[in-house]
Symmetry: C2
Subunit: 382 residues, 2 copies
Amino acid sequence: MNKVNIAGIGQTPVSESWDKSLKELAGDAGLIAMDDAGIGYPDALFVGNMMAITANRQAQLATLIADWLGFHHKPAISIETACSSGSAAFRMALMAIASGELESALVIGAEKMTDSPGDEITSSLATAADAELEADFGLSFVGLNALLMRRYMYEYGWEHADFSNFSINAHANAVHNPYARFQEPITKESFIKSAMISDPINLMDASPVSDGAAAIVLSAHPISNGRKSVSVIASSAMTDTLSLQNRKVGTRLAAAETSTKAAYAQAGLSPSDIGLFEYHDAFSIMAALSLEAAGFCEPGQGPTLAIDGKIKFDSDIPVATMGGLKARGHPVGATGIYQLVEATLQLRGLAGATQVLRPKYAMTQNIGGSGSNIITHILQAE
Amino acid sequence: MNKVNIAGIGQTPVSESWDKSLKELAGDAGLIAMDDAGIGYPDALFVGNMMAITANRQAQLATLIADWLGFHHKPAISIETACSSGSAAFRMALMAIASGELESALVIGAEKMTDSPGDEITSSLATAADAELEADFGLSFVGLNALLMRRYMYEYGWEHADFSNFSINAHANAVHNPYARFQEPITKESFIKSAMISDPINLMDASPVSDGAAAIVLSAHPISNGRKSVSVIASSAMTDTLSLQNRKVGTRLAAAETSTKAAYAQAGLSPSDIGLFEYHDAFSIMAALSLEAAGFCEPGQGPTLAIDGKIKFDSDIPVATMGGLKARGHPVGATGIYQLVEATLQLRGLAGATQVLRPKYAMTQNIGGSGSNIITHILQAE
């Protein structure tokens, strides 16, 4: 596949947004990215979103955003793979450009979750699970992750408190990110004492329901605008069984293993080359499993990296460098694009207080469902 | 864009399906297409679907179908542009193959609408309209089309009965299609006397809420299996304002005009070269507008073609050759793939009693919303 370049990035603050609608959030992010790229209207619009049809009563969201942004008579499509919808839209845009059909594209990830009452959003999120085998029996999405975390703790002998450093690190980084939902640090004590949601997952293990939009302009041509150019050197998507119960090994993200392996092969890199890893820490158990699947440690050893401080922004394997899903927030369809925007800021050397030390290769990984649709990208600074 | 080939096709009968779930319908269509292609598992799965998250409580439908079909650790994504979701998924698969990222892909369009009570499915369909400007004020989707039809009748002086031949033709062709929802003819009298839905649209102007799935295997390489090879020589997507009220000319499908114009240019063809046109006759007004937008007649003259018999399968501009949305049925996210499957059957010369006379070039056009997201393809028999 021909190399595709990141020409512009944009994001809105992740928040509980009362003054902007979904299309306005998406439009704001899109306009910022278009301004950052400076190439006018891209050839097409790709939108990653999971639940506009339930949470906002709106299908064909991409058409609406194209209309709102003034993309007159240009193609616009919506792409959905649950919580990895943002990265799925990005990947489709990459292929459309690599095919020669488009020279440029705007990719927006957008989600507005807080207009719905809590029980409705919990129901919408549960559609990411297998309806017939999981959700219809009352398993919520956090419930599924709780089963996974309990089994993992049992198999490898970890205590709940051993996961605290994932969330502490995420919040410490988010302090410096003006776009993060929670710009406050947390302590081990506040982690341990926070409210139980679905045993063993408590409030501080879980990413918050949020509103937000992030956007990227992709181009067939390198565009730097006086900054370091950033390009996409690997894109890999893999699926696993939708239901957790059908997995051979429930406590490993097999599709993340094959997806990262394929991405490393495409880029000609190994885990030690990666200068930052924007992972999908929707729950702290997912943080641990992602580090393991990406080859940064052996299965069962994810928490060790966090406890040893290896995941800090200025250490070996920087993760969640601007807060991650836990503290930046997790507006589901937008998350993949937030990850890619943050990785681009790091590779441009413009990440501020949490700038990583080796801004050459960044890997992002977005997870749909409980490990069922994994999309991995590797970006490179020129 | 490199040429992409149709290697296999499959479809399930359009019906009110009580014995198969959405994933089973989709899986059945997918397996038939894979069997028809005979190349084993394609490299990835693309699914066009509009409303699984509301009608079937299932997000990431593509992941579920990949799981069900045994696509182990392969990419799967869902694509949504309301009623043109099927063609949008097909177009994404084309570009993925043309980019070199994939050698082959399975594209499935699937929708199961009849499990929901009528008021719920009407609400789900209304999400294809602009929530803030249309649906939230109580405009249903058929209501929007009724406004459009009334205005068109007023501007051009047509009576309601003048639209009857669109539906009569569709039903006459569906008699010979074992996959059609309604395999019975209708008369002008039954058209006129049928129940009013939203004045002036009556039951015989409208396509039926349905269940169904259709599938296509695409390949970078020509695959004939002893039949005529069929390839895709044009793919064009265009958007218009989502709300009807914001259009410059409400009674023309401007995005369909630009989309067909672009498709003709890509293929190096003009309207007179087209041997059949599988159009989007969700309502009879859409049939008229589609013929006009595609350049087969002047604005306001669509009904003339139907009255003069020009749209019959053995006449100048064959449309709805296997029943169209009106009589084959309109399982929304599946419709675009049904159109492409039917066009392929015609180009292979295997369309049976309604075989067209010039099976060289076929055009399909899928419409999302009230003309807001238009996707046009031209296929060629080698």
